[in-house]
Symmetry: C2
Subunit: 404 residues, 2 copies
């Protein structure tokens, strides 16, 4: 027996959803709506699946109608199921993260549908092309001293140090933005290894292997960091520390030079953060790096190096319809725009998990939107765009803060 | 035999240091200057220790004079020791981090001296007083449902949820800045435990112990995070998520309310980051959190909870003299202003190490200045000021970005 009575409604926004009654069915753990007027309204609003005049709602839809649209749900015996009663029936991982991000999309007046509705590939995920230059190789045999505790190599041959700094922007000659202050050149640990491998640098106190060992002792992801660094460097880009911007590297386009002064000086416009596949990070920490980049108006590039392994099946959360020129997209007339991965502030995300999600979005042909619910259930969105760096074995991603 | 000849000089800033000759002494691993004119100049510039007309330099001073002041150093046999040759003689941990921060202070025209010169307590480390209010305890018996995967508790009793939100700013009723959107109240995991302990909240699906266990499974420092949260909350402060500001909590003064609208609304002015004693963090990651706070103009408060243990002796790096009304402070006429801890971007710092350093600075009676050399040897400074929160068993610190 289904109880099916319309009850009082408080929601004043859209009369169409006043007093919807939801029928919870214990047998198949579903929530249905069968009252004709409600069915019509929900169908028009792209809620649920209609079959033979009855609408079956997803858990998030049912909870949303209770929370926002004043719906009431009852079981077969006429007992009312409040939000928590109903939520407890669904055995869904991260139900609240999913619910909050679902709610936020709906609250924006936009359509959000179950991920199961994906049909084939949509071709709506354009790739950002980055130009590829050439690494200029200095032809010097230079010697440096490695300070393993500091992960710095110092070149005290003033002529050579100045030359590689001015012409290739390798190392820091003198002081940053005050090159005349001093006559040493200091290479960071990535520049050190690059120059050992490609520019005949020798260390007077360490072999290449010893140098790598020292670096790995300080940070065990050193070689993955280096891989990313070298990948861009060998394509002509200049990478320097991103410390001031809260990231691993800042990036200059090929042919950037530290000797340009005043108006000639070109600021870096990109930063690169390395997030190895095997690493795990709290979402809040992950998002923090993007925030700093955003606050200094740099494009945030994410690199996810590491060996691909067959992970478990990736589960994205929702299929999103966005705005269009006139009005909003909908499943009847339009292709979906984006895929949503629902996350919450306090959870960990792994590099592999994120990379696999992006890979899956690529397969589906839609951009991925990371939706992060904070502890106050406020939602922040980051759009992931794929980058193609010609000839690279890696994929990189621009991550953009977005207000849908 | 000491070689003692003045050589050509390139440095054009101050003629006083032209052509200084440094004498490296193998026996006691020291660098001395004995030529009268140089001794006078160095003594006036507060370099080294003078004894019987001879100046003994610290390693950083000797390296600085070579790098910046065109000094040349020689061993007993007349062989020149360039920067790296001399640096290799000193067995000093983190020599380059120390050197870069020393150099930066000197390059600013300020005096920096060895930490060994500390004499007693200086009383130049004022404590910031924070007012203490009272926690208003709601007298409800409220029931909620814990979502352990999401670390969220939902109260679906609309009246109770709204009441605790509006009067005590516990939980988020409806949606952040749109309270009318929905009728649920969502407590984060810190609010949940606070309400269990102090406000008669019961969870329908978990005991207090089970709830704590679920939280610790997600983040093992949960109880330390909670300690800090509760400490401020019980003194009347309102703490909410600091996600948008890249920190653990944002902080409102006692009596802040979420129901104030428009001009009445008071923004949070502080954020709190929790850095447990037993945790370790890359300096670059640690600094990133401060950067976000700075970019949104919030005062950054650091909390270092955890049990004190007898750590190894803390070693601060330098004693700093700063500016004064007319000119600069110096060891002859003034007390020192600050203590420097020299760090570099790529090293890890532990909560205990940082707390012990601050404790040591407190004992000495000077504020601590964290000087971080990035991979380009550019130095960023953060000043640590102690906070007193009356009745608290913890100490908290304001961390301020500073340009000396």
């Amino acid at each position: 027996m289904y109880i099916n009575i319309s009850l009082f409604a408080f929601y004043s926004g859209s009369g169409a959803y006043m007093g919807i009654t939801l029928q919870y069915n214990t047998n198949d753990n579903t929530v249905k709506v069968s009252e004709a007027e409600s069915v019509t309204a929900l169908h028009k609003g792209f809620f649920g699946y209609m079959q033979k005049g009855v609408i079956t709602l997803t858990p998030e839809e049912a909870l949303y109608l209770i929370d926002i649209r004043n719906a009431r749900s009852y079981d077969e015996n006429g007992n009312e199921l409040k939000f928590n009663d109903l939520a407890e029936k669904f055995k869904i991982d991260k139900l609240i993260a999913r619910y909050c991000t679902f709610k936020d999309w709906r609250d924006r007046g936009l359509i959000i549908r179950p991920i199961e509705e994906i049909k084939g590939s949509y071709g709506r995920s354009p790739v950002k092309q980055y130009p590829s230059g050439k690494f200029q190789i200095p032809k010097y045999a230079i010697q440096g001293l490695l300070f393993p505790e500091d992960l710095v190599t110092i070149i005290d041959d003033e002529t050579a140090g100045k030359e590689i700094y001015e012409n290739y922007w390798l190392g820091q000659f003198g002081t940053y933005k005050a090159e005349q202050r001093g006559k040493l050149s200091k290479l960071d640990v990535y520049e050190t290894l690059l120059m050992i491998k490609h520019c005949n640098l020798t260390l007077r106190n360490a072999t290449e292997e010893q140098m790598i060992k020292a670096a790995k002792e300080k940070r065990d992801d050193f070689l993955l960091m280096y891989d990313v660094y070298e990948d861009w460097r060998l394509r002509g880009y200049i990478l320097k520390t991103g410390f001031k911007f809260g990231t691993h590297f800042r990036l200059y386009m090929p042919k950037a030079s530290p000797t340009k002064k005043g108006d000639e000086w070109v600021h870096s416009k990109h930063v690169i953060q390395v997030f190895p596949r095997k690493s795990k990070l709290l979402i809040s920490e992950w998002a923090r790096a993007i925030r700093v980049a955003h606050s200094v108006k740099k494009t945030f590039i994410l690199a996810i190096p590491g060996v691909k392994s067959k992970g478990k099946k990736v589960e994205l959360d929702f299929l999103l319809y966005h705005r269009k020129k006139e009005g909003i997209e909908n499943p009847k007339d339009d292709k979906p725009s984006l895929l949503m991965l629902s996350l919450s502030e306090e959870e960990y995300i792994g590099g592999a998990e994120l990379a696999d999600s992006i890979e899956e979005a690529k397969r589906i042909g839609l951009d991925l939107l990371l939706a992060i619910a904070d502890r106050e259930t406020s939602v922040t969105y980051y759009r992931v765009k794929r980058i193609e760096l010609p000839g690279s074995k890696y994929e990189y991603y621009e991550i953009e803060w977005e207000q849908p």
